[in-house]
Subunit: 209 residues, 4 copies
DNA sequence: TATGAATGAGACTTCATTCAT
DNA sequence: TATGAATGAAGTCTCATTCAT
């Protein structure tokens, strides 16, 4: 086997390979050798960069989540000027589209799958990812309430109401996807969710936009 | 070694034991011997009742889900007389409370965790469990629309909007539970979710109840 | 492979096999599979009886040492009636002959070889084996002094003076054996050692037997 | 990274590092990288100076033993004028003190530990070290007999009687050291051993000094 | 000479599963 | 039905050694 030399890129390559393998076989079903092969390395080389298979998972989840959350934060930041409703719609749409990409939704799925066995990974996700999402939701909510646009609901409820449908959609289109009946497109769903989150299910005569 | 149990009860006992063990260590981390021991049997005896470790998981999920869905169906059935809104509130509350029990929420968590490796279990859950939930949601929605109480939203959207927050809550209180910051009680959350699902986030002058 | 059934004898068989393999390849060089094969078992079966390769070593050393020390103690016990000199001669001869058997001397050699890496095994040998040898030497010495037959030397010195030459002989005939120049027979050496331990190297006119 | 060392000193530095690492972790437990790091080199550089990990061990043992034996030979040489007894006492004392230094006794311990797996190292030690010790003992014995001071014992017996107690003492204070019960000082033991080797254990009326 | 990334053989250990009893 | 000893296939991780730079 050729001995190449691209030290700087290696960890990223390994993580890319790991994402593919974990997505295909799950964490437990994935073999380090599979990851190594897909990264164009030998088994041992993987251990030069990561201490254990588990460390690969942790790094992978962290990287995947960080990208999406970082972008989401930027998006909310950028929405400072517009209405809270508009910001919420943007955020919901962005996350929904992101989470429809199996390469990205792999992160929470892996975390959920493995955190029974390795509780630290659940804790990491909670502290690194969810905490930031919580902050985002809380900020938008506060602003909306201050503007008189939103009802004064509990942030924890809004978190569940915004995040839940997206997560549910993600599961329904990955884990529980029916090959015969493909679900609706993510942006359609995102709009539907946003409309309902904002307006609710009940019929009424709208007195405000 | 008191061996006074009726053999007929064995499979149930094994499933009870499996639930406990899977919940504690995850599917991959659970050993058949652990299950056997907890069921008061020897390893080999388990194989008299189940073909494989995997068959245990499938049977367990089926049983857990069946119980909850069956009850939910009964509840909706019973709600034929009342308003669609009331039925939906009841359903949401029931599922939220059920899913707050780790022994029950173990089913979807296990399915999500394992279906990457064993897609059949995801398919089974979709066909056996989710299909019934879809039917329930669709029925309530149709009725609500017919009564002029609900807006005409897509059932797939409502499914995500109703199921998602509950699933999210479940994950937040199991997988991502922060021991230092216990979340809100399930019935509080259920009411909050129901209020928001029905009324939305936006402030408005109510013109109808 | 045939599945036999002799549970009771298995641990002993594994230990016998382990002795052979450890003697041939050293502890580090021995593979559990080698031991298993020689014991007529599969690799996995070994782990039914021992927790680890290391546990095999510990059990083996304990067993080997226990046999010899037990016999030595019986011998000293039996020598209660005879003179201390006679008892010491018997003991020296017995140990020398025993230690000339590579199957038996394997124990201290393995302990010495591995205790750098696994200090507990050195501690175990010290507490289980050497402590008993110390007691034996101390008892004989006390008796000899009481009888007026022995000089009043420190037990620790006598321990070294009696045990050392035997250990040295063992090493010279195992680890450092020269295939071209076989050393003297163990009983000849034992007698020589005993004579010298008792009489010393210096020429003198004997005034007592 | 001060790299001011003269390349010529490298092998010595590597051996010094190897001694420390082997002493701490044993040969099998030592990693070449550990040795390299302690020597202030990279793993690969070690292989510039030594063909293999094993070659390091061999060179190390050779060096350690050579130093001690060389000094011992000089000591015996210097004792040409004095009595055989005095020479023997000096030699015993010198070796006992040397062997009480774990850095020096590491050599025989490593040889004993590894020669099961690598018989050549045992052979090397026998031919390079033990042969010289044998010659030393034989020379002193011959002289003592010629002077009428020593009894006519077999050199092989004397070798064991002189070397054995010292080796035993070495093991008792290294491998089998009880942290709670430190043994006697080496010079005390050396004198005790010399006294006994020369005078024996039996009580007698001394008729000569 | 020196580096250190990469290799690749191999070892221990774990279990799901089988089967003689 | 039940046992539990036994199997055997895997899998993670380690490390001596090599080699391009």
């Amino acid at each position: 086997m050729a001995r190449k030399r691209r030290p700087a890129a290696r960890p990223e390559e390994i993580l890319d390979a790991a994402l593919a393998v974990f997505t295909e076989m799950g964490f437990a079903g994935a073999r380090v050798e599979d990851i190594a092969t897909r990264a164009g390395l030998s088994k041992g080389a993987v251990y030069v960069y990561f201490d254990s298979k588990h460390a690969i998972l942790t790094a992978l989840v962290r990287r995947l989540a960080d990208r999406v959350i970082g972008a989401a934060e930027a998006l909310v930041e950028a929405g400072a000027a517009v209405s809270a409703e508009q910001t919420l719609r943007s955020l919901l749409g962005f996350i929904a589209v992101q989470m429809s990409d199996p390469k990205i939704s792999a992160a929470p799925r892996l975390v959920i799958a493995e955190s029974q066995r390795f509780p630290e990974i659940g804790a990491m996700y909670r502290d690194v990812v969810l905490a930031r999402v919580r902050r985002l939701i809380a900020r938008i909510l506060e602003k909306g309430i201050a503007q008189g646009a939103f009802r004064d609901v509990a942030p924890e409820v809004l978190l569940r109401l915004c995040g839940g449908p997206i997560v549910a959609h993600m599961f329904l289109t990955t884990v529980f996807a029916d090959p015969d009946a493909p679900g609706p497109a993510p942006d359609v769903i995102a709009k539907g969710i946003a409309d309902m989150v904002l307006n609710g299910l009940k019929v009424r005569q709208e007195t405000a936009t």
